[in-house]
C-alpha cells in the first residue's frame, strides 16, 4: 500500500519536472503557432472578410471550393511528384555525403563546405543563380549541353521540364542540409563497433547496412519527417524560377496557398487549404514518427 503511493508520488514528481522543463517551449509554441493555427481553422469556416464586411459562417464551403479547384489538384499532383523525388534522393545523397566526409577523405574540409553551401547561401541569390544555370542559350546548362552538341532547351519555360528543374534545386538544397545531421550522428557512433566489424571482415556496404544504418535510425527518422514536411514547404525558389508556371506546370501546394493568401487575399480559402495541408501533413508525419519511433534503436 505504502509502496504504491510512494511509487505514485515519485511518478507525479517526475511528471511535474517534465512539464516544467517543457513549459517555456510550450508557452511560446502555443502563443506563436498553435493559437494562430486554431484561428486559421476557425477562419476556414467563414467567408473572407473584405474591409468592414466581416466574414460570415459558410461551413464547409471553402472546402468545397477547394475540391472544385483544378489548380489545387494540379498542385497536389505536382507536389506528390516533387515529394516522391526529393525525399528519397536528398536523403540518400545526404547519407552518402555524410559517410564520405566522416572518413579521412582527401580534402575533407572542402568537401564538407561544398556540401553545406546550399544551407549557407540565401535563397534569393541561389534561385537567381539557378535561373542563370537554366537560362536557354547562354545558361550554364546550355553551355554544357551545347558543348556536347545537344539541342537547346528552355528548361524552366517548358511544361515538361519546369517541375524537374525546380525539383533539382530542392534536392540540391536539402541534401546538403541533411548531410550535416547525418554527419553529427555518425560522430556519436561508438568506434569500437567499426573495429569489431573490421575484424569480422565486413565490407563497407555490409557495415553500413547492418550497423551504421540501423544505428542512424534516430537521425533518419528525424530527417525523414523533416524531408517529408519540407517537400510541402520548400517553395521559395519558385518565386524566382517559375512562379508555378508555365501554366501551373510547376505549381506546388504551398505556392498555391501563397497565391491565394497573399495575392488573391482570399484568406478564408487560404485558411481552408492551410488546414487541409497541415492536417494531412501532421497526420502522415505523426504517423511516421509514432510508428517508426517504436522500431528505432535508441541506446
Amino acid at each position: 500500500m505504502r509502496q504504491g503511493t510512494a511509487a505514485g508520488s515519485s511518478a507525479t514528481r517526475e511528471a511535474v519536472h517534465a512539464w516544467l522543463l517543457l513549459l517555456p517551449a510550450l508557452v511560446l509554441l502555443v502563443a506563436f503557432t498553435h493559437w494562430p493555427a486554431v484561428s486559421t481553422l476557425v477562419d476556414s469556416f467563414y467567408s473572407t472578410p473584405k474591409g468592414s464586411r466581416a466574414g460570415v459562417w459558410v461551413g464547409l464551403e471553402n472546402y468545397q471550393v477547394m475540391v472544385g479547384d483544378p489548380v489545387f489538384w494540379k498542385a497536389v499532383r505536382n507536389n506528390l511528384w516533387f515529394a516522391g523525388a526529393t525525399i528519397p534522393v536528398s536523403i540518400a545523397l545526404a547519407l552518402v555525403m555524410a559517410l564520405w566526409v566522416n572518413e579521412r577523405i582527401a580534402g575533407r574540409a572542402f568537401l564538407r563546405m561544398a556540401y553545406f553551401t546550399p544551407t549557407v547561401l540565401p535563397m534569393i541569390a541561389v534561385a537567381n543563380i539557378w535561373l542563370f544555370f537554366y537560362t536557354p542559350q547562354y545558361g550554364l546548362l546550355e553551355q554544357i549541353t551545347g558543348a556536347l552538341g545537344l539541342p537547346s532547351h528552355n528548361w524552366l519555360g517548358s511544361p515538361t521540364t519546369a517541375l524537374g528543374a525546380v525539383t533539382l534545386v530542392a534536392i540540391w538544397k536539402e541534401a546538403g542540409f541533411f548531410m550535416i545531421f547525418y554527419l553529427a550522428a555518425l560522430q556519436t557512433l561508438n568506434p569500437s563497433l567499426r573495429e569489431a566489424a573490421a575484424i569480422e571482415g565486413a565490407s563497407r556496404w555490409y557495415f553500413f547496412r547492418r550497423v551504421q544504418w540501423p544505428l542512424l535510425m534516430p537521425t533518419t527518422l528525424f530527417v525523414l519527417v523533416n524531408a517529408f514536411i519540407n517537400a510541402f514547404r520548400m517553395v521559395d525558389h519558385l518565386f524566382v524560377l517559375t512562379r508555378g508556371g508555365p501554366d501551373n506546370a510547376s505549381i506546388l501546394l504551398l505556392y498555391h496557398l501563397y497565391e491565394v493568401g497573399f495575392s488573391f487575399w482570399d484568406t478564408a480559402y487560404a485558411s481552408a487549404i492551410t488546414v487541409v495541408l497541415v492536417v494531412v501533413l501532421a497526420g502522415i508525419a505523426l504517423f511516421q514518427f509514432f510508428v517508426l519511433d517504436r522500431k528505432v534503436h535508441y541506446k
Binding site: S192, E195, A198, I199, E200, A202, H297
Partner: protein, 338 residues
Amino acid sequence: MSSIELIDIAKSWGDATALQSVNLQIEPGSFCVLLGPSGCGKSTTLRILAGLETATRGRVVIDGRDVTALPPAQRGIAMVFQNYALFPHLSVAENIGFGLSVRKTPAAESARRLREVAALLGLDALLDRKPSQLSGGQQQRVALGRALVAQAKVCLMDEPLSNLDAQLRQDMRRELRELQRQLGLTVVYVTHDQTEAMSMADQVVLLNRGRIEQAGLPRTLYARPATTFAARFIGTPAMNLVALEGGRIAGSEVATGHDAAMLGVRPEAITFAPRGIPATVQGLEYLGADLVLRCAIGSQVLLVRTAGGCEAAPGDQVGLHWAPEDSHGFDAAGHRID
C-alpha cells in the same frame, strides 16, 4: 595453423608510449598468453596484431606474410575485445552470427555453428536478447562467442573471461583449450589471472611498461623468474623478496648462503619446521582453502601459505624452512643470479 611474429614493434600516442620494442615469435597452433600489470601494453599489442592500431614502428608477420599494412579483415583473425564491442542493436544470435553472415556462410552451416557456440557458452536461452538486456558476464560470453564462431586461424582474446564466475571460467578455460587444440588455432590471450596463464599457456609473455620482461613456458616463469619483476608478478601470493645484507637477511643474523642483493622464496615453498628460521607471525589472511601468514624475520616480512585449517594467531613464534632449490637470488638491478 598460423605462426605470428612481431618484429620490433613500438607504439606511442604523442608523449604516451605504450610499447617500446616488442619482439615476439608465436608458434603455429600454440596458445600464447600475454600477462602484465594494468596499462603495460597488452591490449595495444593485440590491437596492433589485429590491425586496429598502426604501430609507430616495426612489422607484423603472420604465416610468413608481412601484414603490417593490411586491414584487419585480410589478416584472417578473430578477436574478443576487452570492452566487448557488441552491436547494441543486434540480438545475441545476430551478434554471434555477424561474421558468418558477412562471409555468406550457408544458412544451415551457420545455424549449426551458432547453436554449438551458444550451447558451449550457455547462451541458448538468451539468443533473442539485445546486449542491453544481458548481465555483464553474459555480454562477455557473447563477445567470446562472436570470436569463436568465426573459427579463424588466429584468435586474439583480450581478457575474455574476466567477468565470469570461477566455475564458469574454469569450464570455459577447458573448453577453449580443447577447441584451440582441435582446430589448431593460434591463440593470443590476454589475462591478468595467473591460474589462467599457467594452466592454458604454451608460452607466457610477461610485459612490463611496454617491454617484454620474460617469455617462456609457464613452468619456467614460475620456477625460474628472470627478474624480480617476474618473480613478484607471477604467483599468488607473490614471491617473497627479502633484502640481503652481506648474505644475511636484513636486520637479522640469518645467513642464507646467497651472494645476492635479494633473495626470493615463494610463500608456498615455505614450510613450518620447529628448527627452522625463527620468525614472528604478524598477521594472517584467510583464503578458504589456504591461510596466508605474514611472518617477520629481522626487518623483513615473508608471506607463508599454509593449509586453511591451520591454527595460528598474531604474535606466535614459528620456525620457517625452505629448500635451497626453492630460493632465488637476484642482483641489485633485479636480474636473476644463477
